[in-house]
Symmetry: C7
């Protein structure tokens, strides 16, 4: 992981995600047919914020952690370019699911 990514700290409930390459079959078995206009994508969490701050001032920690394999919505997220590579910022609550380790 490059220096800039390591130093990158998303704010609040934002999560920095590296999208998985569009391949025929991922290591975890998720199959994305090339022909489909894939509606859902997977990715890996690289950095997470401290969480959303509530009205009472407390923090709700994010539901995903660094290293988690996550399922992303088709739309949404903000593209961030760090050292010539594209990453995406999602809000914690927009991430659909995570994969439990095998």
């Amino acid at each position: 992981m490059a220096g800039v990514v390591r130093r990158f700290l998303p704010l609040f409930d934002r999560v920095l995600v590296q999208k998985a390459e569009v391949i025929t079959k991922t290591s975890s078995g998720i199959l994305i047919p090339e022909r489909s206009q894939a509606k859902v994508l997977t990715g890996k969490v690289l950095a997470v914020g401290e969480g959303l701050r509530t009205e009472s001032g407390s923090l709700i920690p994010p539901a995903v952690g660094v290293g988690d394999e996550v399922m992303l919505p088709e739309f949404g997220g903000t593209k961030v370019t760090l050292e010539e590579k594209d990453y995406f910022l999602f809000r914690d609550s927009d991430i659909l699911a995570k994969m439990k380790p095998e």
Copy 2:
């Protein structure tokens, strides 16, 4: 249930559902006429999230559990393709009803 589905953990109040096939009569007696543009569909819950997090940080557990037979709204839900099969993610609160066991 395939490995990927077993590892699939919906976030928050999301529920992974496998829609029932469009048949003339289900085992529980729900009849869906072939001619109709069926307004409501049924399905089976495969995985549920931990629940929605409130402002105070506590979790509201989902109202359905794995294995429940549920009644789904006509619209809504996010299609997820896992190992070449289609599943759907619904928010807990969008599920209309569940069937009590006989």
Copy 3:
């Protein structure tokens, strides 16, 4: 009441209602002229959910119970077909009124 309807459990603040037939005069005296495009309809409650869950996690029990004769809004509600008959799901708060027993 058929088996499927008996097993049908609405979620949250949803209420399963069987609409009254469009007749000239109901047993309770509510008159619906045939010529009118009846703006309000009546029905009978067949099943109710546990109630709406508040932010604090507690349940607000529904304001109507099984067997109640209710007054429904002209629009809204979700049609549900169970064993070839049409029923309607309404949210508790969309039901206009109920009739006190005589």
Copy 4:
């Protein structure tokens, strides 16, 4: 008051109102010129709900009671036909004012 109206129980913060006839001068002195497209109407409260339920589950009792003479907004309200007469359901908070007894 007819039997159906007496049995009619509005839900939550709804109020059943019988609109005043369009007359030149009401007994309380409110004058509604015939030529005007009367922007505000008066009526009499026939039945009130238990009140609106708050997030904490408690009830806020309605601000008007049976028998109150009220001032209604020009728009809004749901027409309800009971035994061939027209009544209106208003939410408590949509009623503009009530008249103190003389």
Copy 5:
């Protein structure tokens, strides 16, 4: 103040206001040029509601009282005709300012 106005009790945070005549200079020195399409108007408070009810059921008393000289927004307010005179109902929070006594 006429009998109907005296009996008039606005509900919640509503305030009954009598608009000032469009004059060249008011007694308090507020100048409204005749040629202008006066953007702000002044008036006098004739009656106030008990205040807005909060979620917890308590009342927030209105910020103006009977007799207060107030500054009104150009738009908004509901015209009420009582004994052939026009008055206006404003919500407490829509009133811009009040004039301190000299």
Copy 6:
């Protein structure tokens, strides 16, 4: 400060502001080029309300005080004409910044 302005009491979180003249350089060094369609304007606070009332009934005092030099948004605010001069009412939360004294 004229009599009417001195008697003027904004309600809630409203703030009465006198906009600065469009000059080339203000005394505090803020430069507004004549040619620009100045996006932000400065002004001086003449009167402030008691503050916004919260759901619990308490008051949040405004973040600016009488005499403060403030930075205003390009749009928004309500023009008020007092003794032939134009002033503006802004909500406390719409004011962008204030200048610390030198």
Copy 7:
């Protein structure tokens, strides 16, 4: 830092930011290709407000501090011209991320 900027105190959760010049590579390694219509920009925090006030009247301190290198959204923010230089005001919650010191 000029005098006006030093005296500039953003209100509530607003943050005064000086955008980074569009260069090929920043000192921290963030690369913004000249050809791209850069979707995300970086900047430096010059001043921060006291924080957002909650319903209970307490302050939530901003998540960034003076001197922080931040990542900004493509749209949003209010341009402020101080002593002929352009700065931007962002709400705390609109800032995407900050860079941890190396």
